[in-house]
Every structure is written in structure tokens, then in C-alpha cells.
């Protein structure tokens, strides 16, 4: 089953825009986003859910898009890092990643930014250990992670308790 035969229509809201695409039903969400909808922010690093470079938000929840069939997300709202900055204004987290050199090649950024954003929403004043745990579903080969941890901690709200480990 391939070619034009057997293709199915996928409806997604991608980065705020309602989109439809005729896709191969075997498509992963990652491939539908990248190949059919031109959303290149999520990257294919491993296709096994280990590196996190393909991370997006699906109906608000962070998700590794290489582990999802696109058709299963029909009708969902998908956000990539391309729509993190609202109105062209970088979020404090994006700004911090830039200012503190929290990336080098940048391939891991979708996973790192979303994991960090998700952490700060749940835990506004995380400890360093909490930050390290929160981004440990993602791999970075360039930075050694220290700059990423520093960037996330710089965006933490003033702590309401001791910042020692969780």
C-alpha cells in the first residue's frame, strides 16, 4: 500500500495554523510534520525515543514525535519550538539558551527547550538535580549539559525552599 493509494487525510493544527495533508498511514508524527507539513524544528536523531530531538507538544503535553503514528493524533494541536516565541519575542528560556551558549550544533534543542519549559511549568524553582533529571530524556553530544542546566536554572523563579537536590 503506497503511492497515492491508501493515503489518508490528516488534520492538525501546527504552530497555530490549521493544516491538512494527505499522508501515508504508516507515517510517524515526526515524518508527517517534517515531510508533509514543512515543520522542520523537530529532528530525527534516533527514531527510537531515546534522544528527544523530535520533541513537540501534542495538545499541550510534550511528546517524542518519533514514537507516535500521525493518524493517531488526527485533530490535535501540535506545537514545535518554531512557535515558542510569541510575536517574534523569544521566551526567557530561549533567550537564556542563546545567552549562555546552551547549545552548539542545536540539533537537540527541541527536546531540551520543551523538557525545560515543561519542568518550569510544573516546578518553577527546580534544584540542579531536578533540572538534570528533567532533561535526561534528551541527549546532547556537544555541550556536556552544564550550559543547558545553567540556562534552565537562570529561568527559575526565586526559590521558595532550599535549592538542594530533590
Amino acid at each position: 500500500m503506497t503511492g497515492e493509494e491508501g493515503r489518508v487525510e490528516l488534520r492538525l493544527t501546527v504552530d497555530g495554523a490549521e493544516r491538512t495533508a494527505s499522508i501515508d498511514p504508516r507515517s510517524l508524527l515526526l515524518d508527517a510534520l517534517r515531510d508533509e507539513l514543512g515543520a522542520i524544528a523537530p529532528k530525527a536523531g534516533c527514531r527510537t525515543g531515546d534522544c528527544g530531538a523530535c520533541t513537540v507538544r501534542v495538545d499541550g503535553a510534550i511528546a517524542k514525535s518519533c514514537l507516535r503514528l500521525a493518524v493517531a493524533d488526527d485533530g490535535c494541536e501540535v506545537r514545535t519550538t518554531a512557535s515558542m516565541a510569541v510575536g517574534g519575542e523569544l521566551t526567557p528560556l530561549q533567550q537564556a539558551f542563546w545567552d549562555t551558549n546552551a547549545f552548539q550544533c542545536g540539533f537537540c534543542l527541541s527536546g531540551m527547550l520543551f523538557a525545560a519549559e515543561d519542568l518550569l511549568e510544573r516546578t518553577p524553582s527546580p534544584s540542579e538535580t531536578e533540572v538534570r533529571e528533567a532533561i535526561s530524556g534528551n541527549l546532547c553530544r556537544c555541550t556536556g549539559y552544564d550550559a543547558i542546566v545553567a540556562a534552565v536554572l537562570s529561568c527559575a523563579a526565586p526559590p521558595v525552599r532550599s535549592s538542594r537536590g530533590a
Binding site: 500500500m1 503506497t2 503511492g3 493509494e5 501515508d24 504508516r26 507515517s27 515524518d31 515531510d35 514543512g38 522542520i40 524544528a41 523537530p42 529532528k43 530525527a44 536523531g45 534516533c46 527514531r47 527510537t48 531515546d50 534522544c51 530531538a53 514545535t80 519550538t81 518554531a82 515558542m84 516565541a85 523569544l90 530561549q94 533567550q95 539558551f97 542563546w98 545567552d99 549562555t100 551558549n101 547549545f103 552548539q104 550544533c105 542545536g106 540539533f107 537537540c108 534543542l109 527541541s110 527547550l113 540542579e128 533540572v131 538534570r132 532533561i135 535526561s136 534528551n138 541527549l139 546532547c140 553530544r141 556537544c142 555541550t143 556536556g144 549539559y145 552544564d146 550550559a147 542546566v149
Partner: protein, 793 residues
């Protein structure tokens, strides 16, 4: 006259110029480049480590929907030449291997591509690749370098008569004489495991052949677009100008994406055979085929009673895997050159043998064989310290090349330019609070805990020159200013994602007195940039950066001469370029916006400065003066430009019940001379340390008894994650590289080797109270438990 402009941006932690593009997900990598109508490639790979290809039946695959072509190795070979070698062992006394884009006749390792399927989409291509039926005749495999050297071992290349790619000697072989008066002679063996680079982005290519124009355009994950163009043209029987290579943003590389990998050639070849755009994105399991580092290192070391090293003799047996046209085997040579470097060793000899086995080949991987040399020396120094009863820090101090001894000619022929190794050691121990950590260790040991402290000194020869190969120690940059004062830098060096383009912009902005926002650096395009050797050997700032400084100084001289004419002052009057303006040094109120001066050069050249060529553009090549390609009487050459170094200390605890290691601290003092951007330098060193720790503790390519890789993804090849690592504590030292415009030394490979060695030494220190030792890597839990069990723990 010229005047040095006080640096403003150089040395500052300027952030990445294009960082907003990355954090908003808009950066375009090779796999993101749009190509309407591009077909997709899937490779048919050998499931066997050694097997003859009896027949390939592609009829079923060709009949599948969406399939455009199935190309076998035999068919591909008709359309191209063999791949040129980056470093041909056959020209250096070893064996030449014919390597083609797809295997012909025999597959020599599991995962070797033997056929390619092209289909309208990637899923169909993958499905069809699985449907290609290959009839195999399995051959005996050899998976161990020492066994491969034995008579009667299965041969990968029967016409060679053995499995030896090359063997060579580095340094005078005079151990016996040099060791005559030694108080101690120790023998030992160190075994290092097979690792890989594993950048987050796998390799990818998009090739587009325009038959009418006879033009091939290739977007490639490559560190060396110009050299790739040269070898692609040769392989495809095209003129060089018919090939246009573009390197988009690179998602990490660490050596993996140096030119010459057979994947470089498959996709362009298919594009030409099919006459349409073709793309391929490498599967992660294939990225993890590339090997490095696996060696047996046998040594004899002679030491005086006070711990001074008198002589070292090493026999290195490198498990290369199948022969390859890349520079991979050169890692064994560079490891030999670097062995003992930085220590005042009167005698050092390395004999290395690069051996072919039925594994995927070595691919040049950060830090290019120097890691083995570091690990060997740092284990040797710790063993000597134990024998002579002197602390390992003191033994290192007694053996370092002293800071007043440069230039220092090492036995391998490399000539160290500068450094202060003992001060780096002192800074590391001070940051560590060494006495306090030793006291903590005593307390821990008294309580039965296995706390270890490991030291390591790393010295990285950088910015290589390989005589006769397309790897030179020089590179070229163009600096161009427009009539409105905008600056474009075109350079032959590329970035694997490190941000060196921003650092080059800092240098140029300082020379011209313009803000960062005025400078754009263009890299990685063979039709825009001057011919260059790209990103290898931590060379981008040394070569491309220094060249850009020289070119910017030419442009600055024209701006200054024109400004003097506009201000009607004498040619001897000093003009300062700063703040986007040209001002008289003697009277800063007499100032012109730089854009006005640049405009005048372009529009008023007949009225102003008639003696100045009206061109705000210069192309300069920086060729470091200290490389020597002509061999000396002993056949030795000086083939590296700079010598950055570091001293590491690692503190960790071993759990005797599980063998697991918890890293508590890692301290590094690093010296890369003049620092252009401290934030970027810290990033390089920290990233290198993380990679070195990963190599020490667990990253390992593992094979089944038939040679089939078991580490096919990140669930089995275990990169360190954030939770596995301590915060790296950095100290800096600066001994500028003498005789260079900037004084900068390479930094791209720093951190790895010392971290690897410090962790291995720390694990051994942790195990020492039980009399256990571990002279092989990785120092993973099963090996640690085995080492403890071996001494009855």
C-alpha cells in the same frame, strides 16, 4: 603606519550570531533542505561480517510500488572510479585497498552497503530494500586484531597475504640502552575498546544532477566541502567545477563527517544514474557502525628511583576493521606521534600495526588517536608513582617539559611551542582542594567505601598538516566591505556546530572597528568560499581565523589611508577604527562614520588617495610558520601547529556491590592560548569532558560472536545523560602560541583524553586498597566487579 586596535570583542563571551535561528527551530540542516520531487534512498546492508555475494535478485524489490531503481555494487562500479584515499596506506609502505561506494564481490563487515534502492518516498525505499534478495556464501570471520595477525587467520583481502593495513615505527628504537641505568622497568598492557562519535545528527545527503548543464549540486553533512568536491569529481569522472557542494548547518560531527566516507559517494552517484534529485538520511544504527579507539597497547617503561621517566617502548595493535578510504587509520599514527608528548622523555619508541578485521572501519573521531596516547601515559605515570612511592601529582611534575624549555623537540619529531604544565597541575589541585579531598578519601576508606581520585595530563597536537594529503595546516579567508560598510567574511573553514563563525566575526569586527551586527561569515559553500580544508584537527580559528585577521588588516589599511585623505592629514597620522568610525588618534573629534569612508573608497577614488588601490576586499592565507614537511635525518616531521593542554582531576566512588561508578567532581585546568570567546571555549572543553567520561564508563560498540553489531541504537550504545555527569569545574591558563597573529591554540578536541584517563585512574585508585586493577576500558560495572572478584572481593 598601522596601529593595533585595542581588542574589544576578542576575548569576550559574545553569544552566537545566529542563535535566535536555532532556538526558534529555523536552522536548516541537510535533511531539512527542501527538494521537490526528490527520491529517497535506502541501502541494502550485509547481515554478515564476512560473506561472498553470490547473487543479488532485485526483481521482487523492483516490482514494489514507488520503486524507481535498485542498484547493485557491480552496477555502481561501472559508473564511477574507486574512492580516492584521504591517506593511502599503500603509498606509505602498507596495503592499498580498493573501496567502492557499494561493496563488490564480498562484504567485509556487517552493515556494509551492497545495494541501494531508490523510491519515491523513504518508507517505500526501506520496504523495497528489505525485499532485495542477496544470496550469500558466508566466509570465516576474524574479529580480533591479534588473531587477525596470526598465520592462517581468515583474510579480508586475499591478495595482500595478511591482514596488515600498515605498520610503522615512530621515534628511535633505543629502549634497552636508554633503560640501562633505570631503577625500575615495568611492563604492561592496556586494552582500549571500540567507541564511536555518535553526533546527534546522522549523515545525510541531497544530490541533484542537472543533465543539461552537466552539473551536480550536493547538500551534504560534511566537514570539508571543498575536498569533498575534489574527490567526488574524481570518483564521478567529472571536472571539479561541475560539482557544487554545500554544507548546511551541521548537527555535530566529531570527525565522523570528514570527507571520504563511502556514503559521500553513493547518493550523488544515484542522482546521476537516475537524473533526478535523490536524498538519503542515515539510519542511527548505521551511524553507530563507525569505529574508533580499539587497540592493544603493550609497553615497557623505565624509570629512575625518583620517578623520572627514562624510556618508553610501545607496541600498539589497532583494530581498524575493514580498510577504508578515510583518514581513520591515521589515528594510530597520530597516537604514536603524541605518545609521551609533554613529558621530558629521553627515549620513546612506538611501533604501531593497523590491522584489518571484519568490523566497520575506523573513522577519524575526536580526538584522533591522541586519546590512546594520553590514557597510556597517564596509566604509566600512575604505575610508576606507585612503584617509587611518590604521589602521582609529584611524578607528573618531575617529568613535565619545563616552561623555559620551549621549543621542545619530542622524540616523535613534534616540536612543542609553549606551555606551563606544572602550573596547570597546581591550579587543578588548588581548585580541587587536594588536601581536603585526600582527607575525605582517608575517611571514606576507613569506612570501607571505594573513593578514588584520578589525575591526567592531556596534550593535544592541533591544526594538522599531512604532507601529500588534502589536510594542510593553512587555510584561506576573504574579507569584503560593501559601500555601506557591511562586512562579509568568506572562509575555507567550516563549523560542525561549535560557533566558530561567530568567533571569526569577533576577530574581523575588532580589526575593522565595526559592530558584530555588521559582519556576516559565510562557510561551507564551494562556489562562494575560497578553497579550504574545512573543519578538522581543531583548526578553524588557527587557520581560518588568523587568515581572516590578515585579510581584515588589509581592508583596514585601505580604510585608514582613505580616511586620512578625507581628513586631509599626513600619511603618518594614526587613524583608529572603532565604534563603526574612523577617527584620528591625535584628535578623536575628527571622525568619519566607517560607512562614509567605505562609500568614498567605492565612489571617490579618483579624488582621494590615488596611491591606494580602491578595493575593500582581501583574500589571505594563513600558513603557520612552525610546520616542517621536510623530514629530518631521522625521518621525522613537525606536522602540528599548536599544542593546547589540560590537567584533569576526577573524584568518584565505586559501589563494590554493583560495580557502578558515581562521579563526584571533575576539575580541569585548560590552556588554549589566547581565547577568542571564553564561552565557546568552555563549551568545547565541557563537551569534550562529557564525551571522555562516556568513553571511560560505558560507551562501547559490542558485537555478537559472528561480528554482528549489538549496539544499534541509544538503548545499547549509552551516551552520558545530564544526570550521569557532575558539573565540570574549569580553570584557565593562557600561554599564547608564539609566532602567530592571535596566539590562539586549538580547542575542539580538548577535554576528552584527560577525562577518559582521569576517570580510569580514579577507578583504579578506588580499587587500589583491595589490590584490584583495571587495565582495560570501559571501566564499566561488569568489568569493575570482575576486577574485584579477581582479587577475592
Amino acid at each position: 603606519m598601522t596601529t593595533a586596535v585595542p581588542p574589544r570583542l576578542t576575548g569576550s563571551p559574545v553569544r552566537r550570531q545566529d542563535g535566535d535561528v536555532f532556538v526558534t527551530g529555523r536552522a536548516v540542516y541537510t535533511a531539512d533542505v527542501r527538494a521537490d520531487g526528490a527520491a529517497h534512498v535506502a541501502l541494502v546492508r550485509s547481515p554478515h561480517a564476512h560473506a561472498r555475494i553470490v547473487a543479488i535478485d532485485a526483481a521482487a524489490a523492483r516490482a514494489l510500488p514507488g520503486v524507481l531503481a535498485v542498484v547493485t555494487g557491480d552496477e555502481a562500479a561501472e559508473h564511477c572510479e574507486e574512492i580516492p584515499h584521504g591517506l593511502d596506506a599503500g603509498h606509505l609502505g602498507g596495503h592499498h585497498a580498493v573501496v567502492r561506494p557499494l561493496a563488490v564481490g564480498t562484504a567485509l563487515y556487517a552493515g556494509e552497503p551492497v545495494a541501494a534502492v531508490v523510491a519515491t518516498n523513504a518508507a517505500d525505499a526501506a520496504l523495497a530494500a528489505a525485499a532485495v534478495e542477496v544470496t550469500w556464501e558466508r566466509l570465516p570471520v576474524v574479529l580480533d586484531a591479534e588473531q587477525a595477525l596470526l598465520p592462517g587467520a581468515p583474510l579480508l583481502y586475499p591478495d595482500w597475504g595478511d591482514n596488515l593495513i600498515i605498520e610503522r615505527d615512530v621515534g628511535p628504537d633505543d629502549f634497552t640502552a636508554a633503560a640501562a641505568d633505570a631503577a625500575h622497568v615495568l611492563e604492561g598492557e592496556l586494552r582500549t575498546h571500540r567507541g564511536t562519535a555518535a553526533p546527534m545528527e546522522t549523515r545525510s545527503y541531497l544530490a541533484d544532477w542537472d543533465p543539461a548543464a552537466g552539473k551536480m549540486t550536493v547538500h551534504a553533512t560534511t566537514q570539508n566541502p571543498h575536498v569533498l568536491r575534489t574527490v567526488l569529481a574524481a570518483t564521478l569522472r567529472l571536472d571539479e567545477e561541475a560539482v557544487h557542494v554545500i554544507a548546511p548547518a551541521l548537527g555535530g560531527s566529531f570527525g565522523l563527517k570528514m570527507y571520504g566516507n563511502r556514503e559521500d559517494f553513493i547518493v550523488p552517484l544515484l542522482a546521476r544514474m537516475l537524473g533526478r534529485p535523490v536524498r538519503w538520511v542515515e539510519e542511527r544504527s548505521a551511524t553507530l557502525l563507525a569505529g574508533t579507539r580499539e587497540q592493544v597497547l603493550r609497553y615497557r617503561v623505565a624509570a629512575a628511583a625518583d620517578g623520572r621517566l627514562l624510556a618508553l617502548d610501545v607496541h600498539a595493535i589497532a583494530d581498524h576493521g575493514a580498510a577504508a578510504p578515510t583518514h581513520g587509520w591515521g589515528m594510530a599514527h597520530v597516537g604514536a606521534l603524541a605518545t609521551g608528548l609533554g613529558y621530558a622523555l629521553p627515549s620513546c619508541h612506538v611501533r604501531y600495526q593497523v590491522v584489518a578485521t571484519n568490523k566497520a572501519p575506523w573513522v577519524g573521531t575526536k580526538p584522533f588517536g591522541k586519546d590512546g596516547a594520553t590514557l597510556l601515559l597517564e596509566r604509566v605515570v600512575d604505575r610508576v608513582a606507585q612503584v617509587v612511592g611518590v604521589h602521582p601529582a609529584e611524578v607528573r611534575r618531575r617529568n613535565f617539559v619545563p616552561p623555559d624549555s620551549f621549543p621542545w623537540l619530542h622524540t616523535s619529531g613534534l616540536e612543542l611551542d609553549s606551555g606551563d604544565y606544572a602550573t596547570a597541575l597546581d591550579l587543578t589541585l588548588k581548585r580541587l582542594d587536594h588536601p581536603a579531598v585526600l582527607a575525605e578519601q582517608r575517611t571514606a576508606r576507613a569506612a570501607g567505601r571505594l573513593l578514588g581520585i584520578g589525575l591526567a595530563f592531556e596534550l593535544m597536537p592541533e591544526s594538522a598538516d599531512i604532507p601529500g594529503a588534502l589536510v594542510s595546516a593553512f587555510d584561506t579567508s576573504t574579507v569584503r566591505m560593501s559601500p555601506t560598510g557591511r562586512v562579509t567574511v568568506l572562509t575555507g573553514v567550516t563549523s560542525p556546530g561549535t560557533g566558530n563563525e561567530t568567533a571569526i566575526a569577533q576577530l574581523v569586527a575588532d580589526e575593522l572597528g565595526v559592530p558584530m551586527s555588521s559582519v556576516q561569515v559565510v562557510q561551507g559553500d564551494t562556489e562562494r568560499c575560497p578553497y579550504g580544508f574545512g573543519n578538522i584537527s581543531s583548526r578553524s580559528i588557527i587557520t581560518g581565523g588568523n587568515a581572516a585577521v590578515l585579510a581584515a588588516r588589509d581592508v583596514a589599511a585601505t580604510l585608514r589611508a582613505t580616511a586620512r585623505a578625507m581628513l586631509q592629514v599626513e600619511p603618518t597620522e594614526e587613524v583608529v577604527l572603532a565604534g563603526n568610525a574612523a577617527a584620528l588618534a591625535a584628535d578623536p573629534s575628527r571622525v568619519l562614520p566607517l560607512a562614509v569612508v567605505a562609500g568614498a573608497v567605492h565612489t571617490l577614488s579618483y579624488r582621494l588617495a590615488l596611491d591606494v588601490e580602491p578595493r575593500l576586499e582581501s583574500t589571505r592565507t594563513y600558513r603557520p610558520g612552525n610546520v616542517r614537511q621536510v623530514p629530518d635525518a631521522l625521518g621525522r616531521m613537525q606536522t602540528y601547529t599548536t599544542y593546547p593542554y589540560a590537567v584533569h582531576a576526577s573524584v568518584l566512588e565505586v559501589d563494590p556491590e554493583t560495580g557502578s561508578v558515581t562521579l563526584l567532581r571533575h576539575v580541569v585546568t585548560h590552556d588554549c592560548g589566547t581565547v577568542v570567546n571564553p564561552m565557546f571555549v568552555d563549551g568545547q572543553v565541557t563537551g569534550g569532558v562529557a564525551m571522555g567520561i562516556g568513553a571511560a564508563l560505558g560507551e562501547e560498540l559490542v558485537f555478537d560472536p559472528d561480528g554482528v553489531p549489538l549496539t544499534t541504537g541509544f538503548k545499547t550504545y549509552l551516551l552520558p545523560r545530564a544526570i550521569d555527569l557532575p558539573t565540570v569545574e574549569l580553570e584557565h591558563l593562557c600561554t599564547p602560541a608564539p609566532g602567530t597573529p592571535l596566539g590562539a591554540k586549538g580547542v575542539g578536541e580538548s577535554g576528552f583524553s584527560g577525562a577518559l584517563a582521569a576517570v580510569v585512574n580514579a577507578v583504579n585508585d578506588a580499587l587500589a586498597p583491595h589490590g584490584a586493577a583495571l587495565e582495560s576500558t570501559p571501566v564499566s560495572p561488569p568489568r569493575i566487579l570482575a576486577a574485584l572478584q579477581a582479587v577475592g572481593r
